[in-house]
């Protein structure tokens, strides 16, 4: 019975991802053809009635560049920031439309090449992610135009769908999405791993998250299945699931046969694991 529960995490995540994608896929049609304006926008800013969500990085950039405090932006950022602070960057793994497209691409790749596990061909230093965030913010401030807001792949997916429905054409900057998806064929989640400033922001916010994947060293058989399953190329077997880079997708808990990796609320791993985490971060 426990086994079934674990296999379900993968399936549940796919269902949530599909629903999140369906929402931004169907919503423009509702707005355009039925004039139902109850829900507007996509994951850059969502409006459900009077409840507003603003993506943390986009809101931060807007406040930084305009140098003015606008309270509704801050309030809109509140819920996503709380979610990230408690659950880590679950937005990336459970909601992001780019993640949905990545999953589809991975599925097709596995079928086409008849492989059970996918390889990463181009591996960079994980710290590139932080440099991408810093560079992006500084460049935005120099240009006085937030770069991520008009070139963010998750936002672009929503904008392309909306442009297609409203104006029956596609915007040119959609090639960014194609580039990101193309790089996924070389290295799984290449953009998410090394260059996504939004992911980096959520990782920083969620570095002290409550929900973590904790490894039980006494039951771990060191089979290494989790290391192969991790779409970010992390090594949960060495405790990297507790690092700031983990996005809590739960793929490693789904493949772990002895059940050594489990979601835990409010716990930190034992000292031994923490020591290895330090090494993992340095690498």
């Amino acid at each position: 019975m426990v086994r079934e529960k674990r296999g379900n995490i993968h399936r549940t995540r796919l269902v949530v991802l599909s629903l999140a994608f369906l929402l931004i896929l169907i919503n423009p049609f509702l707005n355009y053809y039925l004039e139902l304006n109850f829900i507007q926008g996509w994951y850059q800013s969502f409006g459900i009635g009077k409840l507003w969500f603003v993506s943390p990085l986009e809101g931060l950039e807007s406040l930084l560049v305009s140098k003015q405090i606008f309270l509704p932006t801050l309030i809109g950022m509140l819920l996503p920031v709380c979610l990230a602070a408690l659950l880590g960057s679950v937005y990336c793994s459970w909601l992001c439309p780019i993640s949905f497209l990545h999953e589809i691409l991975d599925f097709l790749r596995k079928i086409l090449f008849r492989k059970k596990w996918l390889k990463d061909h181009l591996v960079l230093s994980r710290r590139t992610l932080w440099y991408a965030l810093i560079g992006e913010i500084i460049l935005s401030l120099i240009l006085a135009a937030p770069l991520f807001v008009f070139l963010s792949p998750p936002g672009l997916v929503g904008r392309e769908i909306m442009t297609a429905v409203f104006f029956h054409s596609l915007a040119l900057e959609g090639v960014v999405v194609l580039l990101v998806l193309g790089m996924n064929l070389v290295t799984r989640r290449f953009f998410c791993r090394y260059f996504c400033p939004l992911g980096a922001t959520l990782n920083i916010i969620g570095s002290r998250r409550k929900l973590r994947v904790i490894q039980d060293l006494s039951t771990c058989t060191e089979c290494g299945l989790c290391d192969r399953a991790c779409p970010l190329g992390l090594t949960p077997s060495l405790g990297m699931a507790q690092s700031a880079y983990c996005w809590n997708c739960g793929e490693c808990t789904a493949v772990c046969k002895p059940g050594a990796l489990e979601y835990q609320w409010g716990k930190k791993g034992d000292a031994e694991t923490a020591a290895v985490v330090g090494q993992g971060d340095a690498g």
Binding site: N31, G41, Q44, S45, S62, S66, G155, F166, E173
Partner: protein
Amino acid sequence: MKRREFVKGVAGSLSATFLLPAAARALSLIKSPVRTNRLRPPGAVPEEIFAGKCIRCGRCVEVCPYRSISLLDIRAGVYAGTPIIAAEEIPCYLCMKCVEVCPTGTLLKIRQEETRMGIAIVNRHLCYTWQSFTICRTCFDVCPYKEQAITLDQLRPIIVEDRCVGCGLCTHACPVTAEDGQKAINIEPIHAWERVRW
């Protein structure tokens, strides 16, 4: 001519032909797309900080019931994804729905009569009434602020600049279209160029 000079001249002219348009194009990437009859939605902050404040969420476009607002693409450079209204195609009908949903205060919540998207300017060389071709008062008839923003002086339209909201209804309705696509009454978005006080 020496060979050195010839090579210099050829290289110079070649690089000029390639670099000058490139420089001009690069400049257009940071130049605002707002110009005559290309307006920001109601309540917009000045162009100086518009690109910085707007997070391109597209919610104003989705709620606009008249489809007046469209989105710019990457050809507008850093202004990609910002909303714009083409006044002569579909003007703003001042329903004020977009200002209600903007999450970043790029479109500030204002009342209808406070809207200042621009000022209507009558081109007296084109206007049929001013040229005494015929008596046309289309712009006066469609204006939502008749006798306040637009008045008639011997049936010729006069704009009251303090009261004009710049919605573009007159531009849209004007029957005169010049060769360059401009109407006899156009909206000049002069308020977009106001300076921001930090």
